[in-house]
C-alpha cells in the first residue's frame, strides 16, 4: 500500500522543528530515518497531516566522548554506531547489540533517536539504554530536559516524549575498565526483531557479581530491568541461587502472545537467557548446564 497524502516540511534547525511541532501538535510526525515511520504510513497505520523532516539537521548527528560521558546525537545512524571506534571502546554492549538491529540497508538510514522514540518493545536499543544507565536528552520549546532511560519507556510504542518535543540525543556513562557485558537474543532470522533478548552489564570481582543490570526485551511492553539480578549480587553463585533468581524473574515477567511466540515460550527463553548470561559473565559454563529452565 501507499502512504496517504501529507504536507512536507524540511526543518532548517532544531528551533524551527520545535516551532512546527508546537503549531501542529499531534497532527505532525517527525521523520528521521523513516525505517519505522514509513512502513507504518505505507500500511496506513498512521496518516499524519504534516511530516517534519529533521534529516538534514547536522547538529543532531555524531558521537562524542567527553570525560566520562559518551554522547550520541539523535540522528546518528545505526551503521555509524556499529562502525564507531568510540562506541566499541566505551560502550561495547551497544556495538554488539546494534549488529542485531535490522539489515544493512535499513541500518544505513535508521537512527538511534528514531529507534528510541519509536520504543518497539522488541527492539534491542531501548534495553541497551536501560542496561547502560543512559540519559535521554529531550528538547521542547521551553528548553531541554533529561530523563533516565529507565523512566523514558512507558509501554508499547509509548515514551515520555510529548508530541511537541524532540529526542535530541543520549548520554551514556563510559564503561568502567572492570565492567563486562552480555548480549544475546533469539530471533527467527538475523536482523529480525527479537522473540526474547537480554542486554546486561556487570562488575565481577573475585567471581562474584558486585553490580549487575539485567535488561530483558521482547518479553513485555517495555524493557524490563530485572529485580532477579538482586538475587545474584554479592553471593557465590550456585545452581540453587540461580534457580531462586529464575523464580523471581518468572514473577516479574509479563510476556505477550503473538505470531512469533507464545507467552510461555517467551518465559522459557527469558530463563534460558538468564542462565546463559550469568554463566558467560562469570565464565562459569557449569551454571548454564545446571540452570536449564
Amino acid at each position: 500500500m501507499k502512504a496517504a497524502a501529507f504536507a512536507y516540511a524540511r526543518a532548517t534547525s532544531v528551533v524551527n522543528a520545535l516551532e512546527l511541532l508546537g503549531t501542529h501538535g499531534d497532527k505532525a510526525k517527525v521523520l528521521s530515518g523513516g525505517q519505522s515511520l514509513m512502513p507504518a504510513m505505507n500500511l496506513r497505520l498512521t496518516s499524519p497531516e504534516l511530516i517534519v523532516d529533521i534529516g538534514e539537521l547536522a547538529e543532531l548527528r555524531g558521537i562524542a566522548v567527553t570525560g566520562s560521558i559518551v554522547r550520541i546525537g539523535a540522528l546518528t545512524r545505526h551503521v555509524d554506531v556499529l562502525k564507531s571506534p568510540e562506541i566499541a571502546a566505551n560502550a561495547p554492549l551497544l556495538t554488539e547489540a546494534i549488529a542485531h538491529v535490522a539489515h544493512p540497508a535499513v541500518r544505513n538510514r535508521g537512527t538511534i533517536g528514531g529507534n528510541l522514540a519509536h520504543a518497539d518493545p522488541a527492539s534491542e536499543l531501548p534495553a541497551c539504554m536501560v542496561a547502560l544507565n543512559a540519559t535521554i536528552v529531550v528538547r521542547g520549546q521551553a528548553g531541554e530536559r533529561r530523563v533516565a532511560a529507565e523512566e523514558f519507556f512507558k509501554g508499547i510504542y509509548a515514551t515520555d516524549l510529548s508530541a511537541q518535543e524532540l529526542l535530541v540525543g543520549v548520554e551514556l556513562p563510559v564503561a568502567s575498565t572492570n565492567s563486562s557485558y552480555f548480549f544475546h537474543e533469539f530471533a527467527r532470522r538475523q536482523g529480525d526483531y527479537a522473540i526474547a533478548g537480554l542486554a546486561a552489564q556487570a562488575i565481577v570481582e573475585k567471581d562474584i557479581f558486585t553490580k549487575l543490570r539485567l535488561v530483558f526485551f521482547a518479553v513485555g511492553d517495555r524493557p524490563l530491568l530485572a529485580r532477579a539480578a538482586t538475587k545474584l549480587i554479592n553471593v557465590s553463585l550456585t545452581p540453587e541461587v540461580l534457580a531462586a533468581a529464575m523464580i523471581v524473574l518468572g514473577e516479574e515477567l509479563d510476556p505477550q502472545d503473538d505470531h512469533q511466540a507464545s507467552a510461555s515460550m517467551r518465559r522459557h527463553l527469558a530463563k534460558v537467557l538468564l542462565a546463559r548470561g550469568a554463566s558467560a559473565l562469570l565464565c562459569r559454563p557449569d551454571l548454564n548446564a545446571g540452570g536449564r529452565a
Binding site: 497524502a5 512502513p39 540497508a105 535499513v106
Partner: protein
C-alpha cells in the same frame, strides 16, 4: 502544503529535475516517473529488499524513502550498475549458478551483494548470508545465490593478486 515539490538530483549519473508529491516514495518515483523499472516493489514496508537502490553510495530501501528526501542526492539503480558494467561478473555468476528463477528479487540481491563485495574482499558464506539477510527470495532457496556471490568474490580477489 500537500502540493508538489521541485527536486533536483542525480540518477545513474544524469541530472534529473522533477515535481513530486510528498507522499511519493523513491521506488515509485524511479519506476513511474523515470521508467526505471529494474527497481522492484514487493512489500512496501522494508521487509523484502526487492526495492534496494544506492543513495549517495549506500544501499537503502527505496520504498522507505520519500522522493523529496533525495533532493541533492545521487541515486544509482540496477540499470546504472548494469549499464556501467560494475556488476557484469556478478550477473554472469548468477546466471551460471542458477541464482535466479523468476528474477523478482534479483535486482535487490545484486545491489546488496555488490555492496558487500565493495566493503569486503573475501567474505565467507556466513558474512554473505548476514549481508543478504534483509533480501527475500521465494524461488531459489538462497544457496545458489550465496554460491554466485562467493565465486565472484574469489574471482575478483584472484584477479587482483
Amino acid at each position: 502544503m500537500t502540493a508538489s515539490v521541485l527536486i533536483s538530483l542525480e540518477v545513474n549519473g544524469e541530472r534529473v529535475d522533477a515535481h513530486v508529491l510528498p507522499r511519493l516514495n523513491l521506488a515509485d518515483f524511479l519506476r513511474e516517473q523515470l521508467q526505471l523499472t529494474g527497481t522492484h516493489v514487493g512489500c512496501e514496508h522494508g521487509v523484502c529488499g526487492a526495492c534496494t537502490v544506492r543513495v549517495n553510495g549506500e544501499i537503502v530501501r527505496s520504498c522507505l524513502m520519500l522522493a523529496v528526501q533525495t533532493h541533492g542526492a545521487s541515486v544509482q539503480t540496477i540499470e546504472g550498475l548494469s549499464d556501467s558494467g560494475e556488476v557484469a561478473d556478478l550477473q554472469a555468476a548468477f546466471r551460471d549458478r542458477n541464482a535466479l528463477q523468476c528474477g523478482f528479487c534479483t535486482p535487490g540481491m545484486l545491489m546488496a551483494a555488490q555492496d558487500l563485495l565493495k566493503q569486503e574482499a573475501e567474505p565467507d558464506r556466513e558474512r554473505i548470508r548476514e549481508h543478504l539477510s534483509g533480501n527475500y527470495c521465494r524461488c531459489t532457496g538462497y544457496h545458489a545465490i550465496i554460491d554466485a556471490i562467493e565465486i565472484t568474490a574469489r574471482a575478483r580477489a584472484g584477479g587482483q593478486a
